[in-house]
Amino acid sequence: MSAALAISGLSKSFAGVRAIRDLSFTVPKGVTTALIGPNGAGKTTVFNLVSGVYGVDAGRIEVNGQDVTHMPSRKRISTGVARSFQNIRLMPHLSVLENLLVGQHVRASSLGALLTPYRLFPNHRWKREARAALEESGLGRWADEMVSALPYGVRKRIDLVRATLAGASLLMLDEPAAGLNPSETNALRDHLKALMAKGVTLLVVEHDMHFVDSICENVVVLNFGEKIAEGPLSRVRQEKLVREAYIGTDEEA
């Protein structure tokens, strides 16, 4: 079985600073993996390289067995990879439902689909599908709200629903729990577990180690763009390099 994500020999520099150095790791299908490390370790850069926001200097990226290293960023969604951003990037002037409809684009991008005046039909299948996905996540009542008017925790989860509607099988989440209160964090965890149960593989950048511990089976630790450890969190946190670089700075973590 091919891995959800396989990265080998990945390197990326910005103006002479080597942000990622010869990085290799694999996210097997169905194994929720955390990418952790101190600030500036290169975690978000990995996401930007996998999603194609940046081009790579060297190395190879495979998503679900498909080489995406040099694939244009907009085509990568069709291999099944989607991502969230640290600051939620929903379209603020669109309603929740419209944001979800944008998420469906990859499955409705033919000329005919683009030019169907679907909004004239109150019960068009695209809208039904988006509403059903919202209902399933317990977010149905927000469907017609403007995104800018919603609580932070709800917006985070709508971002997840959008990625689901895009058909994501590998979902990269950049600090999903940051800025959430405990009840929002629990709702998010339940939402992620539901996605995992459906077979979505998660790759999570997260600072909250309790959160990581509660959903991730495997952890990859980065420092200065290099992998310094890999394995279950309980084992990784015992390693000297890791303690020095990251976890050791906060015994409570």
């Binding site: 999603s51 194609g52 926001v53 960023s73 907009r74 085509k75 990568r76 969604i77 069709s78 989607a82 991502r83 951003f85 990037r89 379209m91 603020p92 002037h93 669109l94 419209e98 409809l101 944008v102 998420g103 684009h105 990859v106 409705a108 991008s109 689909a113 683009l114 030019l115 169907t116 005046p117 679907y118 909004r119 004239l120 403007m146 959008r162 895009a166």
Partner: protein, 278 residues
């Protein structure tokens, strides 16, 4: 209908068509400051076909529109590599270049202008403008319109969700150019005369103002903006020479109170809520 009223409504019809030509690329965040140039292409091309080849205007005007759209497509590919103020400058220059070409093109009369043999009456103009409005309403109900909004609000995310950002921008720009060309062709056949000087910078700038004033968030904005800019100066006629000063004061006041334009999506939501509550 009095001749005066007919005249005002015809101008309104042309302004509405022009406003939608600017609105389409603006819906994707692209400012086209050279819309008059595309009107000129539609006007001259359709007039040439009716004059020289005896084409009926119902065929000549759409072909002029298609030609303007094609030029928009060809020029849009390189020009839309620029962004923001640079795109505005590039399109501004483009509009100037196009009308300068027609000004020097002797085959269509050059600076002396170009009389047009066929005539489109006021009702044809009204019907055509209504047709453009209906078409735009339909377009605004599609995924294409949704993609334009997505590109405008967050191009990176739209791209990662599989939307072809460049494709959408170029398509909106070319469609806008075609609408402008349609308006230009109609203009030539209604006034039975085309002169390059008409398609000047002021025409482009005013049209952009209609759209910004009406609002770019909904499909109704250009209609409201064009109506305001066309009708209010007429209503202020009683105040004689002060009307333009008064009109300018109105614009400044409205833009201060509603910087997103008169018609916004939140306004629609407000009305919908009230309707539901009632």
């Amino acid at each position: 209908m009095s001749g005066y009223l007919t005249g005002v409504l015809v101008v309104l019809a042309f302004n509405v068509i022009a406003a939608y030509a600017v609105y389409l690329p603006l819906a994707a965040g692209q400012l086209n400051l050279g819309i008059a140039g595309f009107m000129a292409i539609g006007a001259y091309a359709s007039a040439f076909l009716t004059n020289e080849y005896m084409w009926p205007m119902w065929a000549a005007i759409p072909l002029g529109a298609a030609l303007a759209g094609l030029v928009g497509l060809l020029i849009g590919v390189p020009v839309l590599r620029t962004h923001g103020i640079y795109l505005a400058m590039a399109t501004f220059a483009l509009g100037q270049v196009i009308s300068a070409i027609f000004l020097n093109l002797e085959v269509v009369g050059g600076a002396a202008g170009y009389p047009v043999t066929d005539y489109a009456g006021p009702y044809v103009v009204y019907a055509a403008a209504a047709g453009v409005v209906v078409l735009m309403l339909l377009v605004s109900r599609t995924r294409f319109a949704l993609c334009l909004t997505a590109v405008k609000s967050d191009a990176t995310v739209a791209d990662l969700l599989g939307v072809s950002v460049r494709g959408m921008k170029v398509a909106a720009f070319a469609l806008g150019a075609a609408v402008a060309g349609f308006g230009g062709g109609l203009y030539a056949h209604h006034y039975s005369f085309v002169e390059a000087q008409h398609f000047n910078v002021l025409l482009s700038v005013f049209t952009v103002l209609y759209v910004l004033f009406g609002g770019t968030q909904t499909v109704w904005g250009p209609l409201v903006g064009a109506a305001f800019f066309t009708l209010v100066p007429e209503l202020l006629r009683a105040s004689d020479q002060w009307r333009y000063a008064l009109f300018a004061v109105f614009i400044i006041l409205f833009m201060a109170v509603r910087p997103q334009g008169l018609v916004t999506s939140s306004l629609f939501r407000l009305f919908r809520r009230k309707a539901e509550a009632a």
